[in-house]
């Protein structure tokens, strides 16, 4: 127990005294997972909307693949991404293994199926006649998708939370493709693993607390937006 109190105390001190490395690790976590989530949104929302609005052969296959992707273990994705990014691998020419970009790529692959699937469900839950009504009001296809997403924004915000939550708390893929390099690719989760194996348990707990507070704050903001629009 005292190790936990020690950890809480240390977390507090680290934050109050503004330990540079801690801030840097926290910031990198936020940036890497934030960019990964946003890029996943940029792909997943249009993709999910498209799948939710159209019917074509092979659609069910694609949807079930995406739903399977929701459950694929991050370490497997980490392994595949790192093998692809090896210097002598198929994408080695990019020279991005052990960089934040590689971590972003892995995290996009992790969060994309989640966001796509949530979007698909959100759009499908809408009354199909709503599309006709929106088109009848004179909407172009883009305007229609925009309005439908606006209608489905509660589940879509849930998609953002689920996607972001999955990547910021993920460690396996991040350590494999990022390498946990101090000052470069060390994020909260990989730092926690590292500090734990170094025996710095109180620092590991401090980092865990920061991670939890961070996840909580992001979800709190999104929940505020979600619930406010609902009550307004």
């Amino acid at each position: 127990m005292e190790i936990i109190f020690e950890g809480i105390k240390q977390a507090f001190l680290l934050l109050v005294y503004g330990d540079h490395e801690i801030w840097q690790i926290t910031w990198l976590s936020l940036v890497v997972s934030g960019i990964a989530t946003l890029l996943s949104l940029c792909i997943g929302i249009p993709l999910g909307s498209f799948l939710g609005l159209s019917r074509f052969t092979g659609r069910n296959l694609l949807v079930s693949l995406i739903n399977t992707g929701m459950g694929s273990p991050p370490v497997v994705i980490g392994l595949i991404v790192s093998i692809s990014l090896w210097r002598n691998g198929p994408l080695g020419f990019l020279h991005i293994l052990y960089t934040p970009i590689a971590m972003i790529i892995a995290q996009i692959i992790i969060s994309l199926p989640i966001i796509t699937s949530f979007t698909l469900t959100a759009i499908q839950q809408l009354d199909p006649k709503l599309r006709l009504q929106i088109l009848a009001l004179g909407a172009s296809r883009v305007q229609m998708i925009w309005l439908l997403m606006n209608e489905a924004r509660l589940p879509l915000l849930a998609a953002i939370m689920a996607g972001f939550g999955a990547v910021i708390s993920e460690v396996g893929a991040s350590i494999m493709v990022g390498g946990n390099i101090s000052g470069h690719t060390r994020v909260l989760t990989t730092a926690i693993v590292g500090e734990n194996s170094k025996g710095n348990f109180s620092l590991a707990i401090a980092l865990s607390l920061i991670l939890m507070v961070l996840v909580y704050m992001v979800n709190f903001i999104l929940t505020m937006i979600q619930q406010r629009t609902k009550l307004r």
Binding site: R87, H95, I96, N150
Partner: protein, 289 residues
């Protein structure tokens, strides 16, 4: 609706900022490309904090950017064999010799040593405390104790297997023999929790000592020597290897100044040094590995 549109405008602004970051990262990565070295190393050198001390000195001096990938010696050499690392800092002499023999590495140099120790719960159910022979001690553990193994093909793991071999015991599949597949630090934690025995490098043990409640039971056997060597990955085999950087790092590790730092590392915190610099000793004079 209107509120939402405003919100989305704010979000778009935020996305813009993040894109700038992303582009910054990309450019940074592209720039780092020529100046970066991938160092694949054993977890012990990372976990004890030695590399955290040395690498910034190296980076400041040379302008190279070192990406330290801390894995077991076995995996570090596997990375070297595929040309996925530039320079290796490892402690698994037999595997190293094979690595050199197949032409994967060049310029293998001794950097430092410390020793392996057998640690265990202070109650010592197998009664190995003070024994001089590691293989004898292993036989007793096999009979009366629980042994926690890394099982990850790291330098420590390879060393442990050689001792079992010397003891004439095949521990695989035995009930008293458990493999963690984790790094040294975590394996020590598991051993402490299970009141078991394990083989560890002295450095990691000293770093974690205060949390563990494990005692040093066997030490000083010549068979327990733990030597760290630096190997540059053969650039003739893999053209993408940063040969210059690897050479620079290798030279740096055996330089006088760094060897002095290694000699003093850990004295202030643990009372005794964690490593003994070896670069200026004749290979033949040092402990037989």
């Amino acid at each position: 609706m209107i509120g939402y549109v405003i919100f989305m405008k704010k979000v778009s602004g935020f996305i813009g900022i993040l894109w700038v970051f992303a582009i910054g990262f990309t450019l940074g990565a592209a720039q780092a490309k020529q100046k970066e070295i991938i160092l694949a190393t054993t977890t012990s050198t990372q976990d004890c904090g030695l590399l955290d001390l040395l690498i910034p000195i190296f980076e400041k001096k040379t302008g190279y950017f070192v990406k330290t990938i801390a894995v077991g010696s076995g995996q570090a050499m596997a990375m070297g064999q595929r040309g996925e690392a530039d320079v290796l800092l490892v402690h698994s002499p037999e595997s190293e010799e094979r690595f050199m023999a197949e032409g994967s590495g060049i310029n293998r140099r001794l950097v430092m040593h410390n020793d392996f120790i057998i640690v265990g719960t202070p109650e010592d159910p197998a009664g190995i405390k003070g024994m001089k022979s590691s293989s004898e001690a292993f036989r007793k553990i096999a009979a009366l104790g629980i042994y926690i193994s890394r099982g990850d093909n790291s330098g420590t793991d390879v060393k442990e297997r050689s001792i079992w071999k010397a003891a004439g015991i095949n521990p695989q599949g035995q009930r008293w023999y458990q493999q963690t597949g984790l790094g040294m630090g975590q394996t020590l934690n598991v051993a402490a929790e299970k009141r078991a025995y394990t083989l560890t490098d002295r450095g990691t043990y000293l770093t974690l000592q205060k949390h563990l409640g494990l005692s040093i039971l066997v030490e000083g056997d010549a068979a327990l020597a733990n030597t760290y060597r630096i190997i540059e990955v053969n650039p003739d085999k893999w053209q993408k290897v940063n040969a210059q950087g690897a050479k620079a790092f290798s030279d740096f590790m055996v330089s006088k100044k760094i060897q002095k730092i290694i000699k003093d590392f850990g004295k202030d915190r643990y009372g005794s040094p964690l490593f003994f610099p070896d670069a200026f000793k004749d290979e033949k004079l040092k402990m037989k590995n």
